[in-house]
């Protein structure tokens, strides 16, 4: 026993010492790459739109937290061009003030150009950095969506529907582009006017949730998030919930005039869809995945050059539905 004690003591002493944190760096040899980022947005009006390109480089920081970087990595003096069909446009360099100056105190430098872009157009971007490095990328604008619904709402949307056939939900669906999965966002907002006094009427909006769910014993609205499925389902209960909500605290319900529902569907092109999914998506909350690579479609560097299309529609409201809640219809 007397022999064991010194051995055990020596071992434990060694062990305690080795328990301390060892210097460890998860970094390896730094790689300097150009970073190009741009999302071309257009909408149903198909008017001229500003195209912004942010050009930068990768950087290194002392330690492992990139939030500690204070040296702006954006690149000035580059030549950036956008080609649409047979026309090539050179973008000009500019800057805007930052909303958050905790990391970088200077203005956000970028390149921009006003362009008229149509659905289905393919855009090519090329950037040549002052040090001669060259990056390219392309995107194809999504097409306009022609949606359909499970119930006929052309006469005005209401929940006075016999839900026997498709259940108590409004389903909005459309065809997705052949062979590609795109990310979609959808938002339905109720536009209404509220009479404050005899002279003042306010225009107001309220977003319709997807459905009402029960959480911790209370009912809460659940709003839509992105999906790869070319459809969204809103429950009748959600529409009724919004109609009730706009009248809460309003003594005279007839002071409210409901106008229409505004339906917005945003579609991403295939590259932006993949980028978005790789940054926002998860298979589940608990699986621990390491080294997940963020999608890039930029050749000669990293980043994203994508596009999105905003579809906007008006959904009329059935006057009888508005009157059920005591509101006026237009």
């Amino acid at each position: 026993m007397s022999r064991i004690i010194p051995v055990v003591t020596a071992f434990l002493s060694f062990a305690w010492l080795s328990a301390c944190d060892q210097p460890f760096s998860p970094k390896t040899e730094f790689e300097n790459l150009p970073v190009l980022q741009s999302v071309v947005e257009t909408n149903f009006l198909e008017t001229s739109t500003w195209v912004f390109v942010v050009l930068g480089t990768t950087y290194d920081v002392l330690g492992f937290n990139p939030s500690n970087n204070s040296i702006d990595p954006t690149v000035q003096g580059a030549v950036v061009t956008i080609r649409v069909k047979d026309n090539t446009y050179e973008m000009f360099e500019t800057s805007t003030p930052r909303e958050d100056t905790s990391r970088y105190s200077n203005r956000l430098r970028h390149y921009r150009k006003g362009l008229k872009i149509r659905p289905g157009d393919t855009l090519y971007v090329e950037a040549t950095l002052p040090d001669g490095r060259h990056v390219t990328a392309s995107t194809r604008m999504p097409q306009r969506i022609a949606y359909d619904t499970n119930y006929d709402i052309t006469g005005g949307l209401s929940t006075f529907i016999n839900a026997y056939n498709y259940g108590p939900v409004f389903q909005f669906f459309w065809n997705e582009p052949h062979g590609e999965r795109h990310v979609y966002f959808m938002k339905i907002t109720l536009l209404y006017q509220r009479k404050i006094d005899d002279e003042t009427t306010m225009m107001m909006v309220e977003e319709v949730p997807l459905r009402i769910v029960e959480r911790n014993g209370t009912k809460e609205p659940l709003y839509p998030v992105y999906t790869f499925e070319p459809k969204f389902e809103f429950t009748f209960e959600a529409f009724d919930w919004v109609m009730t909500k706009i009248g809460e605290g309003v003594e005279k319900k007839s002071d409210i005039t409901v106008l229409w529902y505004s339906l917005s569907i945003v579609e991403f092109d295939v590259h932006l869809s993949r980028y978005y999914a790789s940054t926002k998506g998860s298979l589940d909350s608990y699986s621990v995945r390491l080294d997940e690579f963020i999608y890039s479609n930029v050749h000669g560097g990293i980043g994203i050059f994508g596009s999105s299309y905003l579809n906007l529609y008006e959904l009329p409201i059935d006057p009888a539905y508005a009157k059920k809640f005591g509101y006026r219809a237009p």
Partner: protein, 747 residues
């Protein structure tokens, strides 16, 4: 065509015992056969791996999974038989072997926890001559109990202290054997496949050690009896239950409550076990203090009977095992999980008049896994498996001590899979398939210094279509030039048709669906070449050394960035692993010391590129010391050291846009920092090491037995890095210094 081949092999199996070799086995030899069963004197439970030797001879054997042993070729006469096993007092008894006769004995051993009046031989080894047992570890309940545990005793944690077995962290009980992926390990429970053998995201093994009798673990080179996996086989046999008396017990640990009840039935016994989690927060330390609403349970039963009026040499068993894991958030914006196993089976063991032993099994094994996203952004995924397996194995022992083993297995397997990847691409499969396989093994035990085990596994009808191996030859040879030295070598071919679609980049994986290899891929195949030396320095001091080389073709690799339906979800890649392992054991009445070291390499060949899998640990050392102080006090210390695991390093940072479709200017809004990763698994974490300690005390106040104890995990609070955060680079550590206690009561 398959039916002709099938007919031939069935005929061969049926006729094998009636070959001239067997017909003349006793004629004029002057020898007899000794066979029998070894059981626990208190419960009547069959004892697995008990040593049986005939004193004064080199003849001996060890009991199998059913407590059965056979010693052929014993010259007629009177002998003293010594039966011993760790944790039991050895027994000596007189046996009379008649010429050309089979002598059957039934021996019961008394546990060392019970004080007996006479001192008997303890722990004497039986020398099974020339056992061609490369890569096999036989682990009894007694050995399992001495390994310190974080919360409670666990089958898979015990495996991880064996040389050649690695893991990726304290959090997961998932194990990797000799460079093989996790799904290359087959877990059998009474002959039925357990598809998801883990609880709580992999923290625990699903099989409660309380229900176990023992297990055989083949790290490689497994015999033709086993198939369907490339790396390892874990064959677990559950207890029969107390045949002499009724008893019950309960154990409380920090995470679970469990209970068992057992007792005699007419010519047999019954065992019931149940376990339920009750305090999920005690597991928070496994998940970096993240509270996960776990709920898991398992229960099992086993009824066995030896109906003497029907057949005194047969034993029948019906068993069942059911487990479930749920993570229910009660929040519609969070996903829920549900996983489970359902196993029922019927076993029939028979000792025939001829020196023939057969074991027939029919079992159903079901597995279900589902991720229900509710209204979260998680992906919907589900997988179901229904597996009905019929198996008939037999062993025929010749007077020359040679042994013929044979068997037929058929599997009907149905599965459904519906998964969606991060990019919204769905993968839907639904199939049902049938397979028929058979094996023949001949063990040459007739020579004094040489043992040869040669066999062939035939796959007549296969589950997959990607050219699985139709014949899997296996060969192992032992040469014992001196009594203390055994030289061993072996080679075998293996194929695997059922794989999990898991992503190797997942350190913790909640969903690992099983599928048959898709038809557009080749079926994985491996060759295992092994050699080793075993030194039996004294009766209680043994040193083993084994080397292996395992090239693997057509491994399944996930395409993690499948962007369109045109792209394949999976592809075939090749791999290889090799290494050397050493194991030293010393055992006495007071001490049990086990020192295991392995040096290994594992690679994947992805086109021109060579990648190291995440579980590749170059050096691994485990030192286990168990001391029995007497009066029911016992303590165990385990020190583990491993080379740091591979990880993907950071090569740079960059600012990326956080795009919001409802914000027109989000491109020029404040960017988010992101990491640019280097080559996959190109660097290594710092070395992993940890010291664990357990002390237990057993008290017996008849008829109550009390066992309590405490475990200290990571005694010196080593900061072993599990991973580092992809956003901030901050380190997440494995288990810190933690203490757990347990209390068990049995009546």
């Amino acid at each position: 065509m398959p039916s002709i081949k099938c007919g031939l092999i069935v005929a061969l199996i049926i006729l094998a015992p009636y070959t001239p070799l067997s017909a003349t086995m006793f004629e004029g030899t002057g020898k007899g056969i000794l066979r029998g069963f070894v059981t626990d004197s208190t419960s009547g439970e069959p004892l697995i791996y008990a040593n049986v030797i005939i004193k004064g001879t080199s003849l001996g054997s060890a009991t199998n999974n059913y407590g059965f042993f056979v010693i052929p070729g014993v010259p007629s006469g009177s002998y003293v038989l010594i039966v011993s096993m760790l944790g039991y007092y050895s027994k000596q008894l007189q046996v009379q072997i008649g010429e050309n006769e089979i002598t059957t004995v039934r021996i019961s051993l008394t546990p060392t926890t019970i004080v007996v009046s006479e001192i008997e031989v303890f722990g004497q080894r039986a020398e099974e001559r020339n056992p061609t047992d490369l890569g096999i570890e036989k682990i009894s309940m007694q050995q399992m109990k001495i390994v310190p545990t974080a919360v409670e005793s666990d089958v898979f944690r015990i495996l991880q202290v064996l040389p050649g077995v690695s893991m990726t962290g304290d959090v997961s009980a998932k194990y990797y054997v000799r460079g093989g992926a996790g799904d290359q390990n087959l877990v059998l429970l009474n002959g039925a496949t357990v598809y998801y053998p883990f609880h709580a995201l992999g923290v625990f093994g699903v099989i409660d050690p309380e229900m176990m009798s023992g297990m055989e673990f083949f790290k490689g080179g497994f015999p033709p009896e086993y198939g369907g996996r490339l790396s390892s086989i874990l064959d677990i046999t559950t207890r029969d239950g107390n045949k002499n008396d009724y008893s019950a017990g309960a154990t409380l640990s920090l995470a679970t409550a469990k209970a068992y009840a057992e007792g005699p039935l007419r010519n047999g016994s019954l065992l019931l076990t149940a376990r339920k989690s009750y305090y999920g927060k005690s597991l928070d330390r496994f998940f970096s203090n993240q509270t996960i609403p776990f709920d898991f349970w398992d229960w099992s039963f086993k009824i066995n009977s030896t109906e003497r009026s029907l057949d005194p040499d047969s034993k029948f068993a019906v068993h069942g095992f059911f487990s479930g894991d749920d993570v229910i958030h009660h929040d519609p914006q969070k996903e829920d999980y549900s996983l489970g196993n359902s196993i029922v089976g019927f076993n029939w063991y028979k000792v025939w008049e001829e020196p023939l032993y057969t074991a027939a099994t029919i079992s159903y094994s079901g597995f279900r896994a589902e991720v229900r996203p509710n209204f979260s952004t998680s992906r919907r995924r589900s997988n179901r498996i229904h597996d009905i397996t019929n198996r008939m194995n037999g062993a025929y022992i010749y007077d020359s001590k040679d042994e013929l083993r044979f068997g037929v297995t058929n599997i009907w397997l149905s599965y459904d899979l519906d998964v969606e990847n991060l990019y919204g691409e769905r993968y839907v499969l639904s199939e049902h398939k049938y397979s028929l396989s058979s094996f023949l093994t001949y063990r040459f035990n007739r020579w004094e210094n040489i043992g040869i085990n040669m066999g062939l596994r035939f796959n007549f009808s296969t589950l997959s279509e990607g050219l699985p191996l139709l014949f899997e030859p296996r060969l192992s040879i032992t040469y014992r030039p001196y009594p203390i030295i055994s030289l061993k070598a072996g080679i075998g071919w293996y194929t695997q048709e059922l794989v999990t679609l898991s992503n190797e980049n997942e350190l913790i994986s909640i969903f690992e669906p099983w599928v048959i290899i898709p038809s557009y891929l080749y079926t994985p195949q491996a060759v295992q070449v092994m050699s080793g030396v075993e030194l039996l320095i004294t009766e209680s001091f043994r040193v083993e050394c084994e080397g292996y080389y395992k090239p693997v073709r057509y491994l399944l690799d996930v395409n993690p960035i499948k962007y369109s339906p045109k792209e394949r979800d999976y592809k075939n890649i090749d791999g290889e692993s090799y290494g050397i392992e050493m194991l030293t054991t010393f055992e006495s009445r007071t001490y049990y010391v086990r020192l295991a070291y392995s040096l290994s390499w594992a690679y994947k060949h992805i086109g021109e590129h060579v990648e190291i899998p995440k579980y590749d640990a170059r050096h691994a050392l485990n030192a286990l010391v168990n001391i029995r102080f007497g009066k029911g006090w016992e303590c165990s210390t385990l020190w583990t050291f491993k080379t740091g695991l591979p990880f993907t390093p950071i090569v740079a940072f960059y600012d990326r846009i956080d795009y919001d479709p409802w914000n027109k200017y989000s491109v020029i809004s404040e960017p988010i920092p992101a990491i640019l990763w280097g080559g996959r698994n190109a660097s290594r974490l710092p070395a992993y090491h940890r010291l664990d300690y357990t002390v237990t005390k057993r008290l017996r106040w008849a008829p109550t037995e009390l066992e309590f104890g405490a475990s200290i995990v990571n005694v010196y609070n080593r900061h072993n890095i599990f991973y580092f955060d992809r956003d901030t680079g901050s380190e997440t550590y494995m288990l810190p210094l933690s203490v757990s206690v347990f209390l068990g009561v049995s009546i």
